[in-house]
Amino acid sequence: MKILVTIKRVSDPEAKLKIRPDGTGIQTEGVKFVVNPFDEIAVEEALRIKEKHTGEVVVVSIGDKVVTEQIRAALAMGVDRGIFVNYTGSYDSYDVAGILAKVVEQEQPDIIILGKQAVDDDMGQAGFMLAEMLGYPQAAFASKVEISDDKKTAKVTREIDGGLETKEVGLPCIITADLRLNTPRYASLPNIMKAKQKPVKEVTVDALGAVVKPHVTIKKLTEPPKRKGGVKVESVQDLVGKLKNEAKVL
């Protein structure tokens, strides 16, 4: 069973970010970068499926050379090999899905797992677009994944408003990982050392035959407005009055 997992390099969610003066992006100097936490959950799920059903786990990441750091981090968790799509221009979710579709054509995985969204720009679209492009069934926001013994279908549980929904999808399929799917493992020392020897294949967008043509461009980033200090209210009546008349939420 071959499982392909996508990983994106994102700024550490704990880092305090600053916007570049021209508003085109964030200042990257001194910021720590990590594997997108949802992608890490996707990697963990793939490893668990492999441990149960045997097979191979492959990760793919798109970006400039620095993303190989995150590929290595995934290899250190136990992933077998990496694919590094070298691309330095700007792109949107649609371009990412287009590139991934080409990788899928080459690799022919049985399951593709993506994080449900990247925590940097919170687009949350790549998984859906990829499924559409490939014509594969999809199960988004998975909180539980079970592969059938004959490895032909996946039973996926999703947390929806008011309960759980369980879907069955035929393989090959697209799954996107939600927060409570699992807790990613720590990298063990032997796996960290082995990661150095594992293969990472570099490919270009051109060689894949993908076309990058962003439909979406970021015009400007601004910081959220500073929070104003709160006020102390004298009584419950006071509070209710303010909620009604000022906040207009009651």
Binding site: A76, Y186, A187, S188, L189, P190, I192, M193, K196
Partner: protein, 384 residues
């Protein structure tokens, strides 16, 4: 720091990755229990087991027994542990370095097979016992004795201040032949809990490193089979001095980890705390403290990494180990004191971790050879 890249192991990518991984593990698993374990004087054995499952226990030990044969990895784990809980590392170190490294270096094949795997898996805990009530710095003055008794050895004496003694499964005990003097007549033995005549006392109440149980061992005519001898008869002290150089080389990493923890707290606090209408980090007297802490820490860090390079390459490091230990332990005591100072009244409270760091730091000027003894060693090498 691009200009220092690849200068030592610590700059290599895989050790950076290891550092990140251990840091992450420690923040999630060790940090939440560290203050509580200190308060209760209890060792977090479940954290040790989890760490062991990831290969973070005994990484320097040979691969065929479950280690990774990697002295650099040991250094990274050591430093990162002390950044979160000095006491946890103190006990871990007594088990996988003081006990297990001696078995790995001087033990027979049977001894290695019996003792190394369970220690590396975190299932058993080891300790190493030299110090006695009347023999501390003057290690050769120990009065615990061994005697031949047919095909057995008979051991008599008392050890004190032994890390892990109250909880250990395995013990290395250093003893001498009655009437022998100086480095002759020394023997190291491997003992196991449950052997008749071996008793351990209750954990001592201590100033720092409180989650690491320290205690006494009473050896009242312990009779052990011949094959529990570690190394050869009479080689005990010589073997000990060789391995002590290695162990003394790791100790300064405690100072580095602890000082880093102090600096992290000091910087964060100084930025947030406001007095006289601005953050105290804006006062030059506070800036000076932060700058000096950082300067001394980085200088010590680089020297200690260099020392670990020497150790990993199998070089002799007596003077270098003493220089590192002396300097780094002095540095961390200053750093801890200054961090409390920067935090004012809050720093003095148990609720804040720096109060623990301050108490922990003191042991670094005492254990594994006091600062005075380090000075003697350095001077001796200079005046040779």
């Amino acid at each position: 720091m691009p200009e220092t890249r690849n200068m030592t192991f610590a700059d290599r990518e895989e050790y950076g990755k290891l550092r990140d991984a251990v840091r992450r593990f420690n923040l999630k698993e060790l940090s939440p229990v560290a203050s509580d374990c200190d308060e209760r004087e209890a060792f977090p054995v479940d954290v040790l087991r989890k760490a062991a499952s990831l290969g973070y226990v005994g990484p320097h030990l040979p691969e065929q027994y479950g280690g990774s044969g990697d002295y650099y990895a040991k250094a990274v784990v050591y430093e990162e542990n002390c950044r979160v809980s000095f006491g946890y590392n103190l006990s871990l170190n007594a088990s996988d370095l003081l006990f297990a490294n001696n078995v790995a270096r001087h033990g027979s094949e049977e001894q290695k097979q019996r003792y190394l795997p369970p220690v590396i898996r975190g299932e058993k805990i080891g300790c190493w016992a030299l110090t006695e009530p009347d023999a501390g710095s003057d290690a050769l003055s120990i009065t615990t004795t061994w005697q031949k008794d047919g095909s057995n050895y008979l051991i008599q004496g008392r050890k004190t201040f032994i890390t892990n003694a109250p909880i250990a499964d395995f013990f290395i005990v250093i003893a001498r032949k009655p009437g022998s003097s100086k480095v002759d007549g020394g023997c190291a033995f491997i003992l196991e809990r449950g052997m008749k005549g071996l008793e351990t006392g209750k954990p001592f109440k201590k100033l720092g490193g409180r989650c690491s149980p320290t205690g006494e061992i009473v050896l009242d005519g312990v009779r052990i089979p011949k094959d529990q001898l570690l190394g050869t008869e009479g080689s005990g002290f010589r073997d000990m001095f060789l391995s002590l150089d290695v162990e003394r080389s790791y100790t300064p990493l405690s100072s580095i980890g602890l000082a880093q923890a102090c600096l992290d707290e000091a910087v964060e606090y100084a930025k947030q705390r406001k007095q006289f209408g601005k953050s105290i980090a804006e006062f030059q007297l506070i800036k000076e403290k932060l700058a000096v802490m950082s300067a001394e820490l980085e200088v010590a860090r680089r020297y200690v990494y260099y020392l670990i390079e020497l150790v990993a390459q199998g070089k002799r490091v007596s003077k270098e180990a003493s220089i590192a230990k002396l300097f780094a332990s002095n540095m961390v005591n200053k750093a801890a004191r200054e961090t409390i100072q920067i935090m004012g009244g809050y720093g003095y409270m148990r609720e804040y971790k720096v109060e623990r760091y301050f108490r922990d730091a003191k042991l670094l000027e005492i254990g594994a050879g006091t600062s005075e003894i380090q000075k003697l060693i350095i001077a001796k090498e200079l005046l040779k």
